[in-house]
């Protein structure tokens, strides 16, 4: 399904939110790789920093957000050091974006054709308006929307169709990586299924990689090849999707898995995760999950565990229990 060639290498990525009197470290030095043709998932509760990571990779972080350290290497080049001209070429040519709410991701007062064509015309000016329009109607075909509807406005489409249009826009320049930030959260489950199948099909055909973000662990396990689980701005576990399902190493991953009902099998009493994530401005010493962890030991409350590789499971996890 995917090669072992690494497309994007994230090292020690650190993102802060700067307030007037305090700094909140939303992403605290995380490392992961996205391989070519792979769907890599980032899972975690709201506020764990997964969208912040996505924005940093696309160089969309804006004040009060601040990328304060680390590297994001795309084929060896550090994305975080791109100058204006290189950044312009990077955007959409190499990395594109699909947002959660398709309603808000399209400009309501201009036709969708213009919203596809403007990105093509900006990056491939020699194609001309006619070429851009031809490409736009090809893209509509690709996502299964009749191209006669090209000049319609966003409000004339259903939620699912709007998300397909967003995917068409994301594919416009055939990028290597598409970041999908909760692409199906705003849709009902049937439409959600359609959209995911469409993405799987297109990914198989066009060979792009996906960074998939959602809080829906079940959907993620199904769609992604590998998954990183984030907690409070740190990666606590990175493993193949199957291992996350069958053999989660980190207590948080296990707890997250237990928060979703299995589709088949006996009815279970769902366990939530007691407590709430820590305030980023006053973090506990040691492991950040320790205050909510049923297995916390003394060492957990004083020493922060590091992400360590467990090659026999092809996974990485940051937990003292595993040593």
């Amino acid at each position: 399904m995917y090669s072992d060639r690494v497309l994007m290498q994230v090292r020690n990525l650190t993102v802060d939110y700067v307030g007037d009197h305090s700094v909140a470290r939303a992403v605290n030095g995380i490392d992961f790789d996205i391989r070519e043709g792979e769907a890599f998932g980032l899972a975690g509760e709201s506020g764990c920093g997964k969208s912040t990571v996505a924005f940093a990779l696309a160089r969309l972080t804006r004040l009060p957000g601040l990328v304060s350290g680390g590297e994001v290497r795309l084929n060896g080049e550090d994305v975080l050091k791109f100058d204006k001209a290189r950044l312009k070429a990077y955007r959409w040519n190499e990395v594109s974006f699909v947002f959660q709410s398709a309603m808000n991701a399209l400009n309501p007062v201009i036709p969708v054709s213009e919203q596809i064509m403007d990105v093509i015309e900006t990056h491939q000016p020699d194609l001309g308006a006619e070429g851009a329009r031809k490409r736009a109607s090809e893209l509509f075909d690709l996502v299964g929307i009749p191209s006669r509807r090209l000049d319609d406005y966003p409000h004339q489409f259903s939620g699912g169709m709007r998300q397909r249009i967003c995917i068409a826009i994301a594919l416009a320049l055939q990028p290597r990586l598409i970041i999908m930030d909760e692409p199906t959260t705003a849709l009902d489950v049937v439409v959600q299924r359609d959209i995911i199948e469409q993405i799987v099909e297109l990914k198989g055909r066009l060979g792009f990689s996906v960074l998939f973000i959602t809080h829906d662990l079940g959907l993620m396990i199904e769609f992604c090849d590998r998954i990183g689980v984030m907690y409070s701005g740190e990666l606590v576990e990175v493993a193949p999707a199957e291992a996350i399902l069958t053999n989660p190493r980190h207590p948080y991953t296990r707890a997250l898995g237990n928060s979703f009902p299995p589709l088949i099998g006996p009815r279970l009493r769902m366990e939530g995760i007691p407590g709430t994530p820590p305030d980023l401005r006053s973090l506990p010493e040691g492991c950040r999950f320790a205050p909510r962890c049923p297995h916390a030991m003394d060492v957990c409350r004083s020493v922060a565990p590091e992400l360590r590789a467990y090659p026999e499971l092809r996974s990485e996890a940051a937990c003292h229990l595993l040593n």
Binding site: F97, F99, N107, P108, V109, I110, D118, T122, C166
Partner: protein
């Protein structure tokens, strides 16, 4: 289209209600205009003459007959004879004043809208920057001034003291109104200070309105997506942000027309400008009923027309209002 027709029907109904109120309210008040004229002749009129004067002011017959007659007159844009400037027809005075007010308010409102909106776009795009932190507070402060104070200050400084601008009138005496450049230049020269005094107190509102709506839009997903697409700053600013932020501005523009026509009253008084406001003040002082009545009706009409225009503009600019 259906939307527009529905709006037109609504405004026609509103206009009819205004005409009706405009007819009945003065008749609830004691005395009528013809009684005033008749009284001024101190009994030197015979019955036929009295009847003739009553007829010319539409105060003969039953209330219902008077009402039907009034509606008919309004539809023909015939507002009768001025009570004071007898026998000048009210409509000729009204349209003369309205033309000059339209020149004044038209120029001022257009400039204020353009300047304020452009400044708002710039301030929002570079919010917290130099331009925003200097001009936004200044414009808010100017917006809080009353037109009377600004008009008096300008008049005192530039007309009385420095004498750069004329003391009054819409154009120099002796010039015959026409479309030649000399006359137009003369009109603009006379209109400069009045326009400026309306402009100074009104463009800040457009600045602030545009700035606030723009800033809210900057965090919308479609704007973030436009940035992620690597589009030029210019395109994002105008096609994605300002294009959306202009919609509420258009609606406020219509609402401000009525307000500005009222506000021009003070300006015209200070600069002795022969507009509607100036005539209205004179009419109120001299109890020129037919003029006041016609002027009220004209104000109502211009507010309705302005709203209709803004509805049409909104349909053109906002596809969500179009059906099908």
């Amino acid at each position: 289209m259906i939307y527009i027709l529905r709006r037109v029907a609504f405004y026609l109904a509103a206009f009819f209600v205004a005409v009706t109120l405009n007819f009945f309210i003065p008749r609830i008040m004691p005395g009528d205009p013809s009684a005033r004229i008749i009284a001024s002749f101190q009994g030197r009129l015979n019955d036929a003459q009295v009847e003739a004067i009553r007829a010319s002011y539409g105060t003969t017959g039953s209330l219902w007959e008077q009402y039907i007659g009034y509606v008919g007159q309004v539809l023909r844009m015939d507002f009768g004879i001025s009570t004071v400037q007898f026998p000048e027809p009210t409509s000729s005075l009204l349209f003369y004043g309205a033309t000059w007010t339209l020149v004044l308010v038209g120029i001022a409102i257009t400039l204020a809208f353009l300047i304020g909106t452009m400044m708002g776009i710039h301030a929002a795009w570079n919010r917290g920057g130099f331009f925003d932190s200097v001009f936004t507070p200044i414009n808010v402060m100017l917006n809080a001034f009353t037109p009377a104070v600004v008009a008096l200050l300008l008049f005192y400084a530039f007309s009385l003291q420095l004498q750069w601008f004329p003391l009054g009138r819409a154009h120099s005496t002796g010039l015959v109104p026409s479309w030649d450049p000399q006359f137009i230049g003369n009109v603009l020269y006379h209109a400069t200070l009045p326009v400026l005094s309306i402009l100074i107190v009104s463009f800040g509102g457009w600045h602030l309105g545009m700035r606030n709506v723009m800033i809210n839009l900057l965090n919308e997903d479609f704007v973030i997506l436009a940035r992620a697409k690597g589009l030029s700053d210019r395109r994002i600013r105008y096609r994605y942000v300002a294009r959306n932020a202009i919609l509420p501005q258009i609606t406020s523009l219509a609402l401000s027309v009525g307000f500005l026509l009222g506000g021009a009253l003070v300006t015209e008084q200070v600069f002795n400008y022969p507009g509607l406001g100036k005539f209205t003040v004179t009419a109120i002082e001299s109890r020129d009923y037919s003029f006041i009545q016609a002027q009220l009706l004209l104000l109502t009409m211009s507010a309705l027309v302005a709203n209709l225009l803004s509805d049409i503009a909104n349909v053109i600019l906002d596809p969500r209002l179009r059906k099908g």
